[in-house]
């Protein structure tokens, strides 16, 4: 175990300044500084506010992670950082800091993909990922169905949202219900006391001719908002718990239905669910039930590892080191729309182009599914 790679990972793609340290698939530290409270009154993440917070939190969070892990920066085998996708200005703070640390310490630098990191983090919870793994990533920034034959080199987008991310829909409905930001946790809590069958909200893109693995939450969002408004203008009380439960049921039904179908179609017997929405208790319960019925093994990391964090970046970085993947060059740049097929950003253009072409040859739906970013 001591000869497994010791890697520090930095994540700044959205509003969390995350620094994690792992040894192979063992988590040693997971330090996070969040600016979520500063965004709450705007009802969403304000990029400039996030970038300012990242710069202030960056070095203290790195130092806290090193202290928690009880390791010396000199002993690291590499430094990994989210190169994209995400908010450009926010990513740039992490990439700049990671490059400087790696350069100053004489360590290899790995610019890695945020979405692939969300998948790889499960290694810290449930051990090495089976190959291939099916992954459903759902958060305020992304809703993607990904097939990962090799998390360090081959991740294929099967489907993604064509409008809102799942987490975004939670935030918006919470706002219509005056429940604050972020919306996920509070809707989850209220929904437990409501009736999920009380209101039949629409299931987007589930018709026979719709894209099998794509998602749409915009119509659902509008439908829920109109239903609430109709109640209000009729002078009736809005049954908040029932609305929350019925809305949540519609989202979770579509997510799990499509994920299980993708597993069956691709002959994959493992499903991993990651991203902030994976913390949703109903999503976990329904996925558990449907996977069990289909003979699929479900892997969902604990909530703290599902939201954006540095440990997931470190986990993917450690896998890059373990598999001898090329390190990034000192001119690594942040790429706000890094395609999910670019699992990392290796130094040589030639290598990069070849990997990119190979990945695209396999992907049959969305070349830019990851471009939705945050």
């Amino acid at each position: 175990m001591a000869d497994e790679p010791l890697v520090l990972g930095i994540e700044t793609s959205c509003d969390e300044t995350g620094v994690g340290i792992v040894r192979g698939t063992t988590l040693l530290a997971d330090a996070v500084a969040s600016s979520v409270d500063e965004h709450a009154r705007f009802g969403g993440v304000v990029p400039e506010v996030a970038s300012r917070a990242h710069l202030e939190a960056m070095v203290p969070t790195i130092e806290r992670a090193l202290a928690t892990a009880g390791v010396s920066a000199r002993d690291l085998d590499g430094i990994a950082v989210t190169a994209g996708p995400g908010l450009a200005g926010a990513l740039l703070v992490g990439v700049s800091a990671a490059k400087a640390y790696a350069y100053a310490l004489g360590k290899p630098l790995y610019g890695v993909n945020h979405l692939a990191s969300h998948i790889c983090v499960d290694q810290l919870e449930h051990g090495p990922l089976p190959e291939p793994t099916m992954a459903l990533l759902v958060s305020g920034g992304h809703s993607s169905l990904l097939l990962a034959p090799d998390i360090t080199a081959d991740v294929r987008p099967l489907g993604a949202t064509i409008d809102d991310a799942a987490g975004e829909a939670f935030d918006k409905i919470a706002r219509v219900l005056h429940l604050g930001f972020p919306g996920g946790p509070v809707i989850d809590r209220l929904a437990r006391e409501g009736d999920p069958a009380a209101i039949a909200f629409p299931r987007g893109l589930t018709g026979p001719r719709d894209a099998a693995y794509d998602f749409s939450f915009s119509g659902l969002k509008t439908s829920v908002a109109r239903w609430i408004e109709a109640k209000r203008s009729a002078g009736e009380d809005v049954p908040v718990r029932d609305v929350a439960a019925s809305f949540q049921e519609a989202v979770v039904d579509v997510l799990t239905r499509k994920a299980v179908r993708a597993c069956k179609d691709e002959g994959v017997d493992h499903l991993m669910i990651g991203g902030g929405v994976a913390a949703n208790s109903r999503l976990r319960a329904m996925a558990e039930e449907r996977c069990a019925r289909a003979g699929i093994i479900l892997r969902v990391p604990r909530p703290g590892l599902c939201t954006d964090n540095g440990a997931m970046v470190a986990a993917l970085g450690a896998e890059m080191v373990a598999r001898g993947r090329s390190a990034s060059a000192w001119d690594l740049s942040a790429d706000s729309s890094l395609p999910v097929t670019d699992t990392h950003v290796p130094a040589h253009e030639a290598v990069h182009a070849a990997a990119h072409a190979a990945a695209h040859a396999h992907s049959h739906v969305h070349a830019h599914a990851a471009g939705e970013g945050h």
Binding site: P47, R52, L92, V95, S96, Y103, V176, E229, W330
Partner: protein, 244 residues
């Protein structure tokens, strides 16, 4: 002493290495959109040109702006991470002070850089080493009376010739000037205990009107001089739900 200075607060990506006596190596590139990409390779080349390794650096100095935020943060994040990894103090200097120092002027003048949105970042100086106003951001037309008759240094001056008819060089920031200014400041204020300040940023020079110890011409904490509040806008693709 081996002092590394970086500044990315303006379109220039600029790096210099100073040994206390002179600049050993320096490099500047002007590319407003690629600060993040270009800075570290520039540091690498400057160190190589001087035959030095980063871990020999004893002092870090970074231009803290004012400047457009995204680029500005690259230099500061880099300097702070170097400081943490090496255990070396990081000091900030006002970016406008570097331009003022490089001008070599010994009478009153103004420094102006491009703040975009039809505004300039600017400050007034009594001479190349003495800033007499806090850096500010304003529309050039609103400054016309304040800066009338004064020579003006920096790319912000050449952008608005009506307001700054007497534009002088240099147009772009150079870390060599920043490093030389920092070396002068360090030489002028030996610490009581003879050691370097332990904390990032160290204490700022004591205030006093004029000279190197004035608040405007001394070291600053290594934090950005934004001068503007953040635009409180959620991303463009964020659709607001308004029930009809």
């Amino acid at each position: 002493m081996l002092l590394l200075a970086v500044d990315t607060a303006t379109p220039a990506i600029t790096v210099a290495l100073h040994d206390g006596d002179s600049v050993l190596a320096a490099e500047s590139d002007v590319d407003a959109r690629r600060h993040g990409e270009l800075l570290l390779p520039a540091v690498d080349r400057v160190l190589a040109a001087a035959g030095a390794r980063l871990d020999a650096v004893t002092d870090l100095v970074v231009g803290v702006g004012p400047g457009p935020y995204t680029g500005l943060r690259v230099g500061i994040a880099t300097a702070l991470a170097f400081g943490s990894a090496l255990g070396v103090p990081v000091r900030g200097l006002c970016t406008l002070d570097g331009l003022a120092y490089a001008s070599g002027l010994d009478g009153p003048f103004v420094v102006a850089t491009d703040a975009r949105r039809k505004e300039v970042y600017w400050a007034r100086y009594a001479d190349a080493r003495t800033r007499v106003t806090e850096p500010a951001v304003d529309r050039p037309a609103d400054l016309a009376d304040t800066v009338a008759g004064l020579p003006a240094v920096g790319a912000g001056a050449t952008l608005y010739p009506d307001v700054f008819p007497d534009a002088r060089g240099p147009g772009h920031q150079s870390a060599a000037a920043l490093a030389s200014l920092a070396a002068e400041l360090l030489a002028a204020r030996p610490l009581p205990d003879g050691g370097a300040p332990a904390a990032s940023g160290g204490p700022s020079a004591p205030s006093g009107p004029g000279g190197l110890d004035s608040p405007g011409a001394g070291f600053l904490p290594p934090l950005p001089l934004y001068l503007r509040r953040p635009d409180a806008q959620v991303p463009k693709n964020y659709k607001v739900v308004t029930p009809k």
